[in-house]
């Protein structure tokens, strides 16, 4: 924990992230390029034909969207327990990208759903809980934006982030209980053929690096702008 805190001070973070950024950015471009190439050259699926390509865009987006909320929840916890300013910035910076990936997952899923299910939207458990996740993100961001006083906004958002962390599994569970139709778990249980699995894993790694890159940039921007503001207000 001590070690973590040492690197979590804003100055150390600026240095570390400055050094890492070029690599994560390069990794993002490389992995996504490879993933897309593999994705477009897979053999057509016997059921889905070429629309299966959509999987490589859709599934990682959906996964990252869920992971991003995990990031917010953890950062909120840190913020509330240890009052760590960097964790506030980290949580705030993750939210827009989480929302973005959620929207991307919804759009790609719905584009995929049209040929597969003959409809843009189904009130299925997974889809619905995913839509609700988007609203949770929006509410979280709205709260951040609405409170002008930064320290107060941070603490309020952290409380909401934690409450959401408790509630999201409940939402997911209740919606699944309600109705389910969307494809079940298939990666970990090994139901996916290796031809599809590899490009998917590469794309997932690419999305993960994309998220980390964007996230770090957002944290850096926020730290810099806070510094600028302090200089401005602190002056005579």
């Amino acid at each position: 924990m001590q070690l973590l805190f040492r690197y979590a001070n804003p100055h150390a973070f600026m240095r570390l992230s400055g050094a890492l950024l070029p690599f994560t950015a390069a990794a993002t471009i490389l992995l996504i390029a490879i993933g897309l190439y593999l994705g477009f050259t897979v053999p057509p699926d016997y059921q889905q034909g070429m629309t299966v390509t959509m999987m490589f865009v859709h599934v990682p987006a959906a996964t990252m969207a869920e992971l991003a909320y995990g990031v917010i929840a953890v950062a909120s916890f840190f913020s509330l327990v240890w009052r760590h300013p960097l964790s506030d910035v980290a949580a705030r910076a993750a939210a827009p990208y989480g929302a973005l990936f959620t929207a991307l997952g919804l759009i790609t899923g719905s584009l995929w759903g049209r040929p597969m299910w003959g409809t843009w939207w189904q009130w299925d458990g997974r889809l619905t809980s995913f839509l609700l996740l988007l609203f949770v993100y929006l509410g979280y961001m709205a709260l951040w934006n609405a409170i002008e006083d930064e320290t107060r906004a941070a603490r309020a958002a952290a409380i909401l982030g934690l409450v959401g962390a408790v509630n999201i599994p409940i939402i997911k569970f209740s919606v699944d209980w309600w109705t389910t139709l969307h494809q079940g778990e298939s990666i970990i249980s090994g139901k996916l053929a290796p031809v599809f699995l590899w490009p998917l894993l590469v794309m997932m790694a690419g999305y993960a690096f994309l998220f980390v890159t964007l996230w770090m940039i957002a944290i850096r921007t926020e730290i810099l702008s806070r510094k600028a503001r302090t200089l401005m207000l602190g002056g005579p």
Binding site: W120, L131, V175
Partner: protein, 222 residues
């Protein structure tokens, strides 16, 4: 005219500052539209059948959401006194507030309604009718709402009474608006409903500034 624009601009800015303005009305609209299927169940046929009604009611409720503060905020903090002494007549003040309210609720709601119609599996034709009916009809929500808001402006919890006052007055809008969507779904012409809706909205927008101004004047005496 520029005084009018100054007031309109101020109110729009206030709406935006309170954490997103239009975004919030949109969020509420979308959330209500999501909750209803959760409550009813995922039967696509039923959902398409009730979409027009539900979305219209959700639009009216989303409009209601920020109505109670239309005049009340300005009344409580003393701004309304200052505004009342400005060169603008109270009628113009009311009109500016109605416009600001519509720009930050009715209009954005209308614009995303086709998206929500997809969630309800509404076919393209009825979706278009829904869109048009909201475009014509939502101004009446802001207009009738302004009357209610001005009447309740001195009540600390006016937001509570407000729906009771204005929802009954807004039933024509819901009936004609949602009715025209339902008409098309049932294979009939939606035109008649839309014309009646337009007439209702026009009447509401013309009369409301006068009624609202009278109510404000009354409350300033408090």
């Amino acid at each position: 005219m520029s005084a009018f624009r100054a007031l309109l601009g101020r109110d729009l800015r206030l709406a935006a500052r309170s954490g997103g303005g239009a975004a919030l009305a949109l969020g509420f609209f979308a959330l209500v539209a999501t909750l209803v299927p959760l409550g009813i169940g995922p039967d696509v046929k039923i959902l398409a059948r009730i979409a027009g009604g539900i979305l219209w009611v959700a639009a009216v409720l989303a409009g209601l959401l920020s109505l109670d503060r239309l005049f009340q905020g300005d009344f409580e903090d003393g701004s309304l006194d200052v505004i009342a002494l400005s060169p603008l007549s109270l009628e113009s003040v009311a009109l500016a507030k109605i416009l600001a309210h519509w720009f930050s609720t009715g209009l954005p709601l209308t614009l995303i309604s086709p998206l929500l119609a997809i969630l309800f599996n509404l076919p393209p034709g009825p979706t278009l009718v829904l869109f048009i009916s909201l475009l014509i009809g939502t101004p009446s929500v802001s207009a009738v709402g302004a009357i209610g808001a001005s009447l309740t402006l001195s009540l600390k919890r006016g937001g509570l009474i407000l729906p009771l006052i204005i929802l009954p007055l807004l039933t024509p809008a819901v009936i004609f608006g949602a009715g025209s969507v339902a008409a098309l779904m049932d294979g009939m012409q939606p035109g008649g409903g839309l014309i009646l809706l337009a007439a209702f909205a026009a009447a509401a927008c013309l009369l409301s500034p006068f009624a609202a101004a009278a109510a404000v004047r009354l409350n300033l005496g408090g």
